[in-house]
Point group: C3
Chain length 313, copies 3
C-alpha cells in the first residue's frame, strides 16, 4: 500500500480487517512505529479522527504530531502559476514537500467546498498533498471519501455478524439542518459493494449518490421498502450530489426512530458520528441495544492502526 485514500488502495480488504481485529485484542503487538513521525494535518475540525489516529500512532510506538492548518499555520495556495499577492501565505508545493521531509506518514483532512462539484470530486487538495509530500498519505476524510471510517464500519459489521449467510445492509439518508459532504456515504457504499453483504440505499429523490459510488446498487426512494428485513442500517445525512451541495429536504419522516427500526430484522443501527439526536436518529434508537455507533467509533483506532502499520512496512 502506497497511500490510503480509498478502498482501491487496498490489496486485501479481508486481511486488513483481520489485522484491525488483532490490534483490538492486543494494541501493542507491532513496534513498526518506533522512531517514526506521523503528521496529522487538519484543514477542518475533527474529534474522533484526530484522537483515534493519535492513539493508533502511539500504539505502534510512533509520534503523532497534529497541525491545524489555518489556525496553527496559514492559508495555503493550491493553484499553479499564480502570483501570490493575496491572502495565501504558502503554496502547497512547499507546504506538502516540507511535511514530507519531517514525517514518515502524512494524514490529511480536507472537506469539500460543496459549491463546485467537479473541483470537489477531483480531490485537488488531497491529490496535491500526495503529489508534493513524497511520502505515504492517509486520508483523514477528503472531499469525496472517508476510508478510515469505512474500514472501521466494515470491521464493526464483521464483529457483529456471527452468521455465515450475507447480512442485509441498508444505508439510509436522514435529515439535517446543514449541508453535509457526501464523503461518508460515498465511501461506505464503495466498501459495501466490495464486501460480502447484500447492500442497498434509501434516500429521497434528488439525493442519489454519484454514479461512480452507487453503480449497481439498488436505490430506493421509499425508506420503508428499503428497510424491510435489514440486518444493519447505516443512518447518515448528506447534501445533494445532483443539485450539488444543496439541502433539498428536511423531511422528518426520514428521521430514524423506533418506527423505522420495527421494519427491520431487529437491525443494528450505525452512524459515523457526530450524530444530531432527534434530528438524524431518535434517542429511542440511539439509547437502545440496537445502536452500535460507539463500537464503530472505538474501531476507528484499530482501523487507523491497521493502515498505519501497513504503510510503515
Amino acid at each position: 500500500m502506497k497511500h490510503f485514500t480509498s478502498i482501491a488502495d487496498v490489496q486485501n480488504v479481508d486481511q486488513l480487517v483481520e489485522q484491525a481485529i488483532l490490534f483490538k485484542n492486543n494494541p501493542f503487538q507491532s513496534e513498526l512505529g518506533k522512531g517514526k513521525k506521523v503528521g496529522l494535518v487538519f484543514l477542518n475540525p475533527s474529534l474522533r479522527t484526530r484522537l483515534s489516529t493519535q492513539v493508533a500512532a502511539q500504539n505502534l510506538g510512533a509520534e503523532a504530531i497534529v497541525l491545524d492548518i489555518g489556525k496553527d499555520g496559514w492559508a495555503l495556495e493550491f493553484n499553479d502559476g499564480v502570483v501570490m499577492n493575496g491572502d495565501k501565505a504558502e503554496h502547497i508545493r512547499e507546504a506538502a514537500a516540507v511535511m514530507g521531509r519531517y514525517f514518515d506518514i502524512l494524514g490529511v483532512r480536507t472537506f469539500p467546498g460543496l459549491t463546485d462539484r467537479s473541483e470537489d470530486y477531483a480531490e485537488i487538495l488531497l491529490q496535491s498533498f500526495i503529489k508534493y509530500a513524497g511520502i505515504p498519505v492517509v486520508s483523514l476524510e477528503s472531499g469525496t471519501r472517508h476510508p478510515l471510517q469505512s474500514l472501521a464500519d466494515l470491521m464493526t459489521i464483521q464483529e457483529q455478524w456471527p452468521h455465515s449467510h450475507k447480512p442485509k445492509v441498508v444505508l439510509t439518508w436522514a435529515p439535517h439542518v446543514k449541508a453535509l459532504p457526501q464523503a461518508v456515504p460515498n465511501s461506505f457504499a464503495e466498501w459495501m459493494i466490495q464486501a460480502d453483504v447484500d447492500f442497498s440505499i434509501a434516500n429521497p429523490a434528488g439525493y442519489d449518490l454519484a454514479p461512480e459510488f452507487s453503480n449497481g446498487v439498488s436505490v430506493f426512494h421509499d425508506q420503508a421498502e428499503a428497510l424491510e428485513g435489514a440486518d444493519f442500517v447505516y443512518v447518515k445525512n448528506w447534501s445533494s450530489y445532483e443539485h450539488y451541495g444543496q439541502v433539498l429536504s428536511q423531511d422528518e419522516k426520514w428521521t430514524f426512530g423506533q418506527k423505522q427500526l420495527s421494519l427491520t430484522n431487529n437491525a443494528k443501527v450505525m452512524h459515523c458520528l457526530p450524530v444530531r439526536r432527534g434530528l438524524v436518529i431518535k434517542d429511542e434508537v440511539l439509547d437502545s441495544k440496537n445502536a452500535i455507533h460507539l463500537e464503530q467509533a472505538e474501531n476507528r483506532v484499530y482501523a487507523a492502526q491497521s493502515i498505519l502499520n501497513e504503510l510503515l512496512k
Copy 2:
C-alpha cells in the same frame, strides 16, 4: 479512587500528599502509565493545568492527548430529549462515551457560566462526562471546585511548615475587574477544613462562600482582624455566591500588600495563578521571599502525577 473531582474522592489525604512529595524527589519512580492514554479536554483555556498535567502524565510514561473542545472540536449538547437542530453538533452522551473508549483516564476542564447558580453548582457538565465516559475522570477545574490546585496547595503548605503545631491559614478575598468563579476558594476551603490547620476566611460582606464549603469556618468581614498572626495567607478573588456571579466590590483596600503582610506572622503568601499584579497582590509582596506562588505552581505537576498514578492502579 474511582474519579477525582473533590476531596471526598480521596480515601487518605496524607498518603496522597506524601506520594506527591515522593514524585517531586523522583518523578520517574512509577511506570504505571506505560501504554496508557490520558485525554485532557478543555472547554476553557488553561496554562498551568494543561502543562502540569501533560508533564505529570509523561512522567508516568503515559501519553497525554489534549483536546480543546469548541476550538478543535465543536459545541456540545448537554440537555437530554432535545431535537438537535441548532448549533450543537454532538451530544455529550456520544462525545464522552467515545473519549471513554479512546483513553484510560479523562481530564475535564469546564468553567461555570456564573449566571445560573443551581445549574453551576449541580456540576452538570462534569457529571455528564463522568456518567457517559465510563472511565476515571479527573477534574481539571469545574464549576465549583479545583481539586488538583487544592492538593498542590496543601502539599506546598506542608513543605513550608516544619513545625509540629498547627499553622494559621487565612483565605482572603482580593479585588478583580472580572467576575471569577468560586471554584478555587471553595476547593481550598474544603481541603483546609480537613487538613491539620487553623483555617479562617476574610471577605467583604456579600462574598461569603456557599455554606456547603465554608461550614464551621470563621468568616471575617474585616481583613485586618482575620490576618492577625497568620502563617499562610491565600489571596484570591471570587465573585459573589449570594448575588450570584456579581462583582459587588473592587475595593482596593483589599489588595494584598506590605501593609496586610505586616499584620501576619511573617506569613507565606499564596495564589493559584494567574495573578493580576497590583490589583490582587502588590509587587512588593509577589517579589518578596514571602511569596510561594511559584512553589504552588510547580507542585501542580506532582499533585497531578499523584492522582493519575492512583487512578492507574
Copy 3:
C-alpha cells in the same frame, strides 16, 4: 551554551554545524533528551519551526509540549509596576517562571510589532522569558533574529559547496505585499559575516539593514551588480529598518526569476519559507534544480536537534 538567541551564544559554530550533519545521518544517536521536557511557546503562528523543533526534541528522546499563547493561554503583561486591571491576565514574571519549573528547555517565538523600533530591537519579550524562566531559552524567531533558521542555512550552504575556495553568497531583497520583520535577513547576515564565505547584500534604497547586523558588508542598491558571479542567492523580503516597519517598494523588478539567476554563477537559490511564488521568487526558479529551499527546511530539524542537544549537556 546557556541560551540560544543569536550566533553570539555559540562557542564553536563549525562544531555545531558538524553535529547537525551527524544528526542528519543518524537522528537517534543521542539520548540526552530522555525524561526531559521541551516547552515550545508560540506568541505567533509557525509551521516549520514548530514541526521541526518537535521532531528534533523527539529524536533526542525528549517530550515536546506546544503552547500557543493567546489561543491556548491568554494575553501576557510585559511591563513592570503596572496595576493589571486591563485585558492582560498574567505577568511574564509568573508565566515564564512557571514554565521554567515545568520544562528543561523553553523555546519562544515572538514577532516584532514593527511600529516601535527601539522596543522591537531591545527584544523585551525574549529577554523577559530569559530573565524569568531560569532555564535555557531557545529563540524560535524573535523580533530581530531567527538563529535556528540561520544555522540550518549555514549547514545547507556547507552541504552544497564541495569546493575549497569561498563561495560568493548574496542576500537579496524581494517584494512582498505585507510588512515583514527583518529577523531572517538580520540573522542570516550575522551568521554569514562569521562564516567562511564572501558575503554581500542587495536591496533598494531605504531597505538597508540595521548597522549592527550589516557592519562591514558590501550593500548594493543595484541587484544585477550584486548578483554577478554569486554561488548562493538568499532571496527574502523585509520591511524598512530606516523607515521602520514600512513597505517602501513593491518593485517587481526585484522578484527573483530566471533573468536574475542568469547573472549568477548558476547559483543555488535559498529561501526560509513560506515563500510567495511569483511575487518573491518565480516558479521557473523555485521549480528548477537551483532551488534548495526544501533542503533548508529539512535541515531545520537537525539544526534544532543540534542546539537542543547542546543545551541538554
